[in-house]
Amino acid sequence: MNALLIAVPALPLAGALFVALTGWKLRGLSHWPIVLTIAASFLCSLGVLNHVREEVAKNQALADSDPAKTVGFEMVAPIWTWLDIPDAYQSNQPLNTPGGKTVTTAPLHIDVVLRADALTAIMLCMVTFISTLVAIYAAGYMHGDRSYWRFFVYIGLFVFSMTMLVSVSNFVLLFCFWEAVGACSYLLIGFWYQKPEAAAAGKKALLVNRVGDFGLALALFLIWTNYGTLDYHDPVEGGQSVVAGVLGQTRLANPDLFVHGGVAVAICALLFVGCCGKSAQFPLHVWLPDAMEGPTPVSALIHAATMVTAGVYLVTRCTPLFMAAGAEPLFMVGDSPFTAQMLVAVIGGFTALLAGLIALTQTDLKRVLAYSTVSQLGYMFLALGTGSSLGIVAGMFHLFTHAFFKALLFLGSGSVMHAMGHVIDMRQFSGLRKIMPITHATFLIGCLALAGLFPFAGFWSKDEILASLHERSHAHPVATEQAALQIDSSKQASIDRDGYQHVALLSEETPHKHPHAAHNPAFDTTFSHGLYGFLYYLAVGCAGLTAFYTFRAFYMTFYGELKVPAAAGDHAHESPASMTTPLVVLAVCAVFVGMVFGFPTHAFSDLLTQTPSLAYKTIADTAVEPEFHVDVAFWGTVVALIGIALASYLYLGDRKEAAAIAKASGPLYDLSLGKFFIDQLYLVVFVFPLLVLAYLCYAVDRFLIDGAVNTVGAIPVAAGKTMRLLQNGMVQFYALAMVLGLIVLVWGIAIYGS
């Protein structure tokens, strides 16, 4: 089984290396090795998924008979030792080992270990499946490009990095591949490097991601200094690591072993900063729309379906850390704590709204979709931020379905772009349904899925998200109560001078130990209910926005009178089969994945909740019996239908009303069109001041520091220039100088000597 797991990333890497070495010879055939290896990788992923599914079933069968069963299921495949520094961690802070003992020294031991659980297996299947289709599509789309083979090398490298990202079992290696996918993204955005916009967009993407990685790196340092290890899993047999893994079975079996308190909140907040960068959440979302300068298959694969969801993956993966942070406040709102999970939810919700508003007025088809991606990613974070089993499953499920229909929409827009001679401005073409029937049909399915209409994929996942928010705004989840106890205990502990907190004891302790527990602000759920209630309505509103801008783009592209830009030339026809086949496959998926894996079967949630990170007690206790919320589904659908209806009214006809409304809304319209001027704001607030500072530093360097150095150098020169005046060549002057010197010397000795 381990070999199968290793094969998943190894195959695309092998393909990429093969094409890198032989591409100059293969040329137009370069896509074959990549398509084949990624497809093989997909089959291996299916094998892994199947194995995980079987083991999970076995595990569940044991559930009642064996109380010491492991939490969830994970398989671990070590490959090689990346780094080992013995006794690197030395402190008096005790570190937990799986045996229940503690140690105070630990090696910095990092193995390249692949680890598969349900979450990883699902991500692997999704990534390799979409990648296969995109690679096939790209074979048609990129046909004839001068650097055809280079493109496929990058794609192979990306698939390798992405599969590694979701399957490594160590935070350092996660960070490695986190940046590696960023580098692939940089290379692919800048693939047409001769376009200045593409080069600039690539740079911007990497830089903004670097800002996010800044947070992620700090989170890593905090994890290392507090856990003494960076592994997810517990030490394996024969390994040199001794400390219980951060997300390993030892801690999951006994959640008290997680770090709690302020540090836990800091870890979560910093992890989320990293996620904001990679998953394009406000305020680091600015790179994603620019990234559309890259080739469209890249936009579909990296900037819609896979890489940008890495943040969602990471938050899901680190659920235990977020749960450990519990109700510990990031800051206080009045008397109520604002927790790390609320941060995730609020940023997600705000991003969803912001991006949705911007998408309303964009005229570039790909940018509409890009902002839609940002908005949908915000939706996912919104769900993850509920901190309940329901919400996390919903977020991941939306990630899953979104990958299909968003990839479909991007590939569809690529098909349009291909036909229109690389014109992507929707004002320059219209009525394309007549000449591009397949693209039109599949695009429509994508739009319906994105808008979240029954029974398309988006409906099920969106419904789950709304339901989880709805649930969170009313219910009184167990987690909150526990967390409330924890916050109380941490207050208690901070009074203790011994520096230790006794969370473990609290589960037995009854409120009589904490007489003030009844009016402890953490028990006052008004704030959290209010917040999540607000976010619920916001999410419903965003569903309407989504439906509107999706269909606006759809109508502008495919309806109205047939108009084709001059750049298209004689090229304006349906795309070749290599491009339409993936569209059709994805369209089928966009229709069915929701129904097959979603609420009707629970296949997705049943499997996902067996991920160790999501199966342990604290989070599993928040799970509620799945039920279909008719009212939530109803309101979600109604709002979406209103959005579609509005779009049909405004954009199906001659679009006069649309222009009128744009004119009437004046500055609001400009705000949306100008993307809320966030780019410009950053330019003024960060970029220019830093550049000014840079030039200032350079001036300081040239004149002040180097000036000081030169001054020091000038002192001997000046002294020499003065002294040389004494060398006048007159013997008697020299003699006089000698005599005077002698006098001074004798005088000095007489006065000061002994």
């Binding site: 008096n92 570190l95 490009d145 340092f221 502990a493």
Partner: protein, 595 residues
């Protein structure tokens, strides 16, 4: 032939090569470079063998000792060479980069070739010697010995302001290293005064190991340590160069010939950091601890300052020179964090910087050879013209900005992790300051990505833009060096705002115009100059364990200082609860307990 003989041979071969060049002098200008290449390859073979052989064991390897004053002299000064974990990789890297330096000079140096290559070979002996010396006097001799050849390399074969640059470089570093010499002698004299009364050991010793042992046993008084530390600091910090003693560096780099820049950035700067680990940490632990906050502060200032100034540059070489200031700050951070992880990272970063910045300077040299300019605004879109060179540049850039999978990441990660942890377990004052230092250094990483990507974007991406006129000799596609051609700084491709000009000419439109004649891409020689660096970059990035396992033992040099730091600041007290069997919690509250 055992390792110690090979080590001696590796020191001797370059000198013999230089002699051979001197003898064959004016026979043919190209003979010199041939001899130099063969000599440096032979040296690499010997040194590589020693490095490989030494990488599997621990402790000192390849030791050779000859007494200069006879075995019974009361002054123990020897010709003693050998390698340990600290010096092994730098020794190997010196031999490697020397070959690169000779290969990149192959066609770039047209005048006085024999002198150039002879000096380069002499410099190689100096570099190999400084890392293999086990005797203090021998170390200092080699330390200064590296200065003279480079002075001439910059002063004779440099660019326009070469003389000013050479003199400034020479005086600046010499001024510091003379103070270092005084400090080293003070160490020797003090150690002589605390020598054990034993007729078998000489009272006054120059043996570095023996000195360290004596000074650990009998530490210097703090005020002595402090002044000696300042003396060492003067020489080594200028060599590193630590902010604000760095101003000689950009000038020297910009004016030096490519080979000089490669060697200077790759090896010579590391002598400073090496000296700190070799002398200051083990011999002056208390002064090191006392000055640690200042050195760390200057390092982090250098990291950010260097990155910011690099952002303001218009000259490629100067930009990379300032990036060196920034990167060497990480080495210093790692060394002075007095933490095992950080030290390993700092030492690894020394190798990493040698590989990546050495490579960057080599690439810039290749561009300069083709276009005779280093100005960022005179170049653009070179990826179209020089795809392989661009590929190499991207690799070195990625390595330089610390992208995982390549070497730079490992060093930076270890340094920052180590320093963060050092702060975390330390007392509260150190906790806050070291954590801020770590956080600020991470901003340096972000800025580093900014200026390097800016460089790549401006010079290699975008529409092709080349300076007008003569593009040098021997690099033309059609050998038309003499008459200017059509590539007069024009955008080679017209392209519209919607990005029409990328590929897709299968359907007959958007056909790319053919490239105007101009310089050709990398040739075989240039590829082999850079390829070894790339191989090691990947090796360190993918399996750093092979390298760090030998660096581990260097911790013994920092251990006295780390012990002094722990002594100076009482460690966190462990609550009795753990001993009593209470379930231990790893907790943030620990922090509060420490206060």
């Amino acid at each position: 032939m055992d390792l110690s003989q090979l080590l001696l041979l590796s020191l001797l071969i370059p000198l013999l090569g230089a002699l051979a060049i001197a003898v064959s002098g004016g026979a043919s200008p190209h003979l010199a470079r041939g001899i130099a290449l063969i000599t440096s390859l032979a040296t690499l073979a010997a040194a590589g063998w020693v490095t490989c052989g030494g990488s599997h064991v621990t402790g000192d390897v390849a030791v050779t000792t000859y007494n200069w004053l006879g075995a019974n002299s009361s002054v123990d000064v020897k010709f003693s060479v050998g390698l340990d974990g600290l010096s092994l990789w730098m020794y190997g890297l010196s031999a490697l980069l020397s070959v690169t330096a000779i290969l990149v000079s192959w066609t770039a140096i047209k005048e006085r070739q024999p002198g150039f290559y002879a000096l380069l070979l002499i410099l190689e002996t100096g570099m190999l010697g400084v890392f293999s010396a086990r005797d203090l006097l021998l170390f200092y001799i080699f330390f200064e010995f590296t200065l003279i050849p480079l002075f001439f390399l910059i002063g004779i074969w440099g660019s326009e302001e070469r003389k000013y640059a050479a003199v400034k470089f020479f005086l600046f570093t010499l001024a510091g290293s003379l103070l270092t010499f005084v400090a080293l002698l003070a160490i020797v004299l003090h150690a002589a005064s605390v020598a054990p009364v034993d007729f078998n050991t000489a009272r006054m010793t120059f043996d570095i190991k023996e000195l360290a042992e004596r000074l650990v046993r009998d530490p210097l008084p703090l005020n002595w340590q402090f002044w000696i530390f300042l003396g060492l600091f003067a020489g080594f910090a200028i060599k590193v160069p630590l902010f604000p003693l760095h101003t000689w560096l950009p000038l020297a780099h910009v004016q030096a010939p490519t080979a000089g820049s490669v060697i200077l950035a790759g090896i010579l700067l590391k002598i400073g950091t090496y000296g700190f680990v070799r002398f200051s940490l083990p011999m002056l632990p208390d002064a090191t601890v006392a000055c640690m906050p200042w050195v760390l502060g200057l390092s982090v200032a250098g990291i950010i300052y260097g990155a910011l100034v690099a952002l303001a540059q218009s000259d490629i070489k100067r930009l990379i020179a300032y990036s060196s200031v920034s990167h060497l700050g990480f080495c210093m951070l790692g060394i002075f964090a007095l933490n095992k992880t950080a030290l390993t990272g700092g030492l690894l970063q020394m190798i990493n910087h040698g590989l990546s910045t050495g490579g960057l300077f080599a690439v810039v040299g290749m561009i300069y050879e083709r276009y005779h300019t280093r100005q960022i605004d005179q170049l653009g879109g070179l990826a179209r013209r020089l795809p392989w060179l661009t590929f190499m540049m991207l690799l070195f850039t990625f390595s330089s900005i610390g992208l995982p999978g390549l070497n730079g990441f490992v060093g930076e990660f270890l340094v920052l992790t180590g320093i963060f942890q050092r702060g975390w377990v330390g007392p509260s004052w150190m906790q806050s300051s070291l954590m801020w230092i770590a956080i600020l250094s991470v901003t340096g990483v972000v800025l580093g990505a900014w200026y390097m990507l800016y460089l790549v974007q401006r010079v290699f991406y975008g529409p092709l833009y080349e300076p007008a006129g003569d593009h040098g000799h021997g690099n033309h596609a059609h050998g038309q060096a003499d008459h200017g051609h059509a590539a007069q700084g024009l955008a080679a491709h017209g392209h519209d705002a919607h990005g029409g000009d990328h590929g897709h000419d299968a359907h007959g439109h958007h056909a790319e115009p053919p490239l105007p004649p101009g310089p050709t891409d990398m040739n075989c020689r240039e590829f082999f100059a850079l390829a070894p660096l790339v191989v090691f970059m990947f090796w360190i990035g993918l399996k750093p364990q092979d390298f760090t396992k030998r660096l581990d033992e260097s911790w013994k040099y920092a251990a006295p200082a780390a012990a002094a730091l722990d002594k100076a600041t009482p460690p966190v007290t462990v609550p009795a609860k753990i001993a009593a069997g209470t379930k231990p919690q790893t907790h943030s509250v620990l922090k509060q307990g420490a206060e």
